[in-house]
Structures are given as C-alpha cells and as structure tokens.
Symmetry: C2
Subunit: 339 residues, 2 copies
Amino acid sequence: MRIAIDAMGGDFAPDEILNGALESLESLDKGDTLILVGPVETIKSKIGEKNLNKYADIIRIVDATEVIGMDESPIDALRKKRKSSISVMVKLAADGEADAVLSAGNTGACVAGCQMRMRNIEGVNRPGIAVVFPTFEGPVTMCDVGANIACKPINFYQYAIMASMYSKNLLGIQNPRVGIMSIGEEEAKGNEIVKKARELIRSDPKINFIGNIEGRDIFKGKCDVAICDGFVGNVVLKLTEGLVDGLFKVIKHEIKQQSFLLALSFKSVMMKMYRKYDYHEYGGALLLGVNGTSIICHGSSKARTIKNAIMAAKKFHSMGTNKEIKEYLAASNVRGADE
Amino acid sequence: MRIAIDAMGGDFAPDEILNGALESLESLDKGDTLILVGPVETIKSKIGEKNLNKYADIIRIVDATEVIGMDESPIDALRKKRKSSISVMVKLAADGEADAVLSAGNTGACVAGCQMRMRNIEGVNRPGIAVVFPTFEGPVTMCDVGANIACKPINFYQYAIMASMYSKNLLGIQNPRVGIMSIGEEEAKGNEIVKKARELIRSDPKINFIGNIEGRDIFKGKCDVAICDGFVGNVVLKLTEGLVDGLFKVIKHEIKQQSFLLALSFKSVMMKMYRKYDYHEYGGALLLGVNGTSIICHGSSKARTIKNAIMAAKKFHSMGTNKEIKEYLAASNVRGADE
C-alpha cells in the first residue's frame, strides 16, 4: 500500500515526523511505498543523514512548499495554501496515488481536507474521528471526537455502525456493546438529538446497543464503543489527557514529600503504565467514513507515535472495514428523517 | 439560619444522611436550625440512638412519607409524589421556612423542585449547578454541570457572572479568569451557541474573560472558572470521577505486581491524596441562581459528605452572593437576543 505522510504537521515536525516515518521502513511489507510530503530539500537532507540507500525505491518524495499552522482556521487555510503539506497529501489520496494519509498537523484542516478531497464512503453522511481509550477494563472506542460538532441522529447511527466494525476488526471484540454518551442512564435523560438518535439506533437490531452511558462508564467496562457528537467527544478526549497528566503530577508531588526512595520505586511503575496506556502507542485516531485510510495523529507526536500510526494505517487498510461499512449501509433500511 | 435536609435522598439514606446531619450539630452557630425532612419515626429513632437531648431545640422534624427514587423521571415524580422528602423540602424554602435545602437524592428532581418552588434570583434566566474541581494548580469552579442541557448564550453569560462571584466569595480568588469550554483555543472553534455566548460575555468588560478553553486546560491552571452547558458539564464531571477511580485501580494493580512493600507505602500517599482531592470534602455542588441556598450532594454521599455540605450551605448563605448577583444583573445592560 501507499502511505502519504505530512512531514510538516505537528509540534515536532519535520524532525520527529521524518524520523518516525523512516524508522518504519524496516517494518513495511514488500510493495509498500512511503510518500513523504513536504519541502523536498528538508526531506532529502533527513534521508541523507540516515544512510537509507537500500530503501530508495520505496520512498517517494512529493514537494509541498507551504505549511498550515496549528492555529489557522482550517477552511481558510486549505483554500489559501494549495501547496501546503496537508493539501498536497489529501490530493494524492483523491487522485488515487495514495491509499492512506497521515498527519499530526492542524486536526481541523486535516479532517476538512480529507472530507473534501477523499469523499465519504457511499452511504455515509458525515465522517467521525474514532479513538481507542485504553482502560483498565479493556479498550473503548469513542466516535466522534471532533470531526462533526453538530451531529444529527443519522450521524450517531452511522457512528455506531462504523465504530462497532472498527472495534471488531481492530480489537477483535465480537458484537461490541455500543452506548451513547448522555447525562444519566435512564431513558428520559439526554437532549432531543440524543433521544432521537437512540430510537434510530435501536431500530437496527444488528447493533448491540445498550442505551445511555455516562462519563464515568467509559472507564468501568460498561461498553466497548461510546458514541457522541464531536463537541462532547473532543472535550472528553482532551479532558482525559489533561486529567491523567494532572493526576500524575499530584501523585509525584505527594510521593516526593513522603520519601525519595518511594519516588524512585514509583518511577518504574509509572514508566510501565505509560507504556501500556500511552496514546503514543496507539499512534493516532482514525477518520472513519472517508474513502481510504486517514490517520489523525496527536499534535505532540514523536517519532514513535508516527511509526505506530503508520502501522495502524497498514492494519486498518488490510482489515477491509470501509468495504464492510459500505455494504452494511447499502443493506440497511434505517434512514435519518433529517438528512 | 434554617437548613432543610432531605433525609431520604442518596444511596446511603437515611442512615448516612442523618448521621452526617446530626454530626454537624456541634458545629452549628447559635440561632441555626436543622430541619430533617423524612418519615418522622425513622428520624426520631435515629436521634434517640444518639443521645442528643441537648440539641432538641435546634432540630425540627418535618414529615415526608414518600421517596423519589434515584432513577425516576424528575418532573413526573415531583408531580406524583407531593409528600416526597424532596417536594416537602423545597416547599419549606418556598414558604419561607428554610434558608437552605440540601439533598443527595435524585439530582434532576432536586434541581427541578428548587427551580419550580424557590424561583430564580431576579434577572436570572436559568440556574446552573456549580462544582469546584480541586486541581494541582488550584480549585476550578465549573458551571453548569447538569441543570440546563439546552443553554442559550444568555445562560452562559449569567453562568460566567454567577460562577465568578462564587469563586471570589467562596475561594477568595480576586477577579477570577473565566473560560468557556470549547474544542480548541482559536476563535473559530466551537459551535454557534458557544460563539454567540463568547460575544455576549466579551461585551461585559467587568468579566475577566479569557475566551475558549479546552478539556485539558481545566487541570492546567489556565482558568479559575469554566463555563459550559449542562450536558457537556455533566459528562465532564462524571468522566473525571470515573477516570480518577479507573486510574487509581490501574496504579494499584501495577504497584502490587511490582512489590507488596511498595503497595503498602503507596497506600498512605493515596489516603493523603484522597483527603485533599476528594469530593466528599467539598460536600456538594451549589445550584446557582435560585432564591436561597440549594446544595446538591453526590448520590453516594456519606455522613462526612453531608456534614461538609451543611457547612458549605452555611458558608454560601453568609457570603451574600445571591444579593450580589441580583444587583449585578440589575445594573448590567447585556441582554440575550433570544430570551
């Protein structure tokens, strides 16, 4: 497969992105191509540093002279910067020259670029970003975490289907339990859109739908898939990140106050936990619902994150989930009233 | 002051509620009255157990023979169960017989009961629930966490004002920095209502408004007050609870695998943290914007939680925040276009 990588996206671009991409070379399969998108000279000099001649025929460099900043307005930036690494990358996918795209740059621009250029899978109204939360009770797939902040019931329904398939294919969870994020377990709870979405999902018996879930349930093993609108999902994602960081700060502080020795022993526990629950291990989030494979990486991605994200792209591509989604939606007779 | 307590609300009612209420007696001031609302016999027998004769003149018992279950639909339950402890408790406040109400029961029923019976402070369109998050960087007040799941811009504006005053009066934070929960720091981010709310808040120069904040910022010391709609706030509140529990489970598990001795030493660190960051210490959340003082306690409140909540009610009552809110809104010329 051909994987296009935005060499200029993210807080540590281009160094960490290119390092990660080049480190992945030894794990690629025969026939794979890595397409590095960014300023040719920068990319060439990085490849030169590393003595990678034997990989020359599986690396392709595509020039992109502009960069979309992390804080730029996505739509404006895409319109103005046609030569940006994100614009050029998604165009490669649109033109059939790449099977997967991958960026740690401006998330909004990357999502919008993929939606505009790669188009949706037939039958999908709006794509959604899916992330996997590693929890003590097992991994939970959440969708959407930021692609679509004004969800209609049909979007929730399609997220339930797409995220279930992702959970089954990626994590091997048969018949994943799907919950919809709301503010109480009872049927009466939730806003009007969530209530309508619940009816729509329930009308499809092939979805293993358990109804409302609350914020705390994500970490309690109550569901395998949590669906929500992109506003709520994005808050959840970033809150989780901030809270975990904050809590570790508190623990470190308290432990240091107690004993230096304890702090030392605890450090190895923390390192082990970091390895197990770290988002760098998961590589990135998947934009579910677009034609092709699109991996959205965290802005602070390091080389390891990028390498793992490339592996995630390969895995998703090989799973055939997109084809499955298309077939499922073609056979489903559930339609949203409002789209 | 006169504090009415729902003796039958919460997972551990009536035992823990009554224990907490009675334990608070020694900390009350001269002239205070504790009004215990619930089945007279149950309450009397609990008082009898404890040999509290010297407090007899500051305890009032008000009979309530019904209980609203934790899972009942709030509005239906309030309509049907006129003799429930929540209904009777809020009626006491409405009739001028109580200055504060306090319940660990069905949150929705308690909020709806207070709104219907106690009425809003003049100028307030909708009340909001405010909670204080203890973070490593200091306490953050969040409003709303569940009273109002369909917020209009004017509600956000009023939450900014009310929560700022609460933060100043309760926590001593002068000129608290107010952020609005959104999905990115940039101006372009957020849904239409959040964008309009931002304009409205910004039009009042007396609010120390810092614009958008993201989920992670709550734990990074970026703001003192975080405002959001009740849907998002409720998800945040419950997610935080679930994540902290989940993370401690993971830490305990990993530490035990490493060494039993380490687990023992870590236990005392954890206990210390629990004391510092535990919601039981804060007692409960405040329903900001109603006439009087209304404290919403966590469903799993123990005696200690209730005792602390009673102290919180006393503190809030003495701060005079409601009067300040009324005066502020009377002088403000910011009005929502849609309410």
